[in-house]
Amino acid sequence: MIRLMDVFKEYDNGTKALKGINLRIDDGEFVFLVGPSGSGKSTIIKLLTAEVSATQGRVMVNGYNLNNIRQWQIPYMRRTLGVIFQDFRLIEKKTVRSNLEFVMRIIGASPREMRRRIPYVLDLVGLGDKADVYPNEMSGGEQQRVAIARALINNPQMIIADEPTGNLDPQRSLEIMTLLERINSMGTTMLVVTHEKELVNRFSKRVVAIQNGELASDERGGYYQYEKSV
């Protein structure tokens, strides 16, 4: 569960990125976070992953209070999250399997656990036959599936996807979003930052719009509407 309570964020250079954001995302929800560039979406992601801390207000993520979280607790908080990036951020010199092993090793998974879990997750994202392929031998859509598999591999409570379809054509984007929806239906909370109007409208999920660091709208079964107010 995520809770942002009256959160302000001002960077050292004086930029006021967030101005009193209130947001609650419950376990199992699927939420689109939309808004124009510079609206504060990335700052919210950084707050949730503890890359930056709030200037004012409270931030709770999966039971961790990030206002007074200790440095040594941050890795354990991050293990409750799976993060997906627009540019995939896969390790090019490792095979798909090695990319996943790499992440499982971080949490101390045994080789036996890796042997059982990796084929399961690869099958889930439709890459069961690609375990020994290198990322640069794959299409963009496949690479993003690997990134999704990596986010899922340690069984997080929530997935945060930052523009997951930003580098993909419409057909691949739809496939990826459908996959994320399927994962959400299995119980994983999903927060997807996106600019893809058609996708947001098509999936008819909860849509949270941010503009100028403030919450512009928050609608269940909503659609992509911040353009209307621009």
Partner: protein, 304 residues
Amino acid sequence: MSGGAIISMKNRFNFGYFITEGFRSIFAHGLMSFAAVCMIVACLLIMGSFSLVAINAERMLSQAEDDNEFLAFIDETYTDAQIRQLQQQVAAVDNVASVNFVTREEAKENYLGDYEDEGLYANIPDEVFRDRLSIHVVDLEQFGQTVAAVEALPGVAGIRAMGELAQGFVTVRNVASAIALALVAILAAVSLFIISNTIRLATFARREEIAIMKMCGATNSFVRWPFAFEGLMLGLAGAVIAFFLQWGIYAAIYRAVVANGAIGMFPLLSFGAIWAPVLGVFLLAGALIGACGSGFAIRRFLQV
């Protein structure tokens, strides 16, 4: 979503993984690793050489201290009672270890005993020799002051002391120790800098990996260990190479001293007698330099 397995989330110390990653990184930046090992070898070799000079000088010094004596000749007019009193006065002087009274007859016997053909000197009359006090000192560094203090006592007619040799050993030991200390400090700093840069290069090349690891919940120690092992292995490799080079150099010098028949004058320790502490110190110093170097380098990459 927990199909396939239940994830343990234990903080297992994955020794095999850390070692493998450390090795991989060493060979990925072969040239820098080579430079780092060379610097450690140079550092340890210079430290070792000067330390061995200092150790041998110290040994010769302590042998000289064991043998070292000087003679205080007693005024001819002194009676037995006055000699006993003088002996007590000398014994009370600072840094005097022991005082023995040697009569002129005993002095003659000792003198003749030093020569194979005693007959040549057998007719020397006892009067040529003088009653004397044979004095041993505790610390050779204070040899000069001790001699002067004894010489100033009434009843001491003269002194015979060989202080130059003792002072020479003291000088060699002190200079070697000082040079070793200064060079070790400088070279250790340079080695640290080079190791640190080697590891920094490795961390820079893997910055994306580190960022991913941190984002996926890697603890700082999990990120740090492979680099610590890399530094450690570079340090230990340098230490082992330096040890064998040191062995070769020292053995060559030892053989040269023995071949020249100078071992009596310079009783060097054989390398066999000191290899274990030398290896221990080299390994310790190498490991320390390596681990500290990597520690300095990795710190800033953990701020994710």
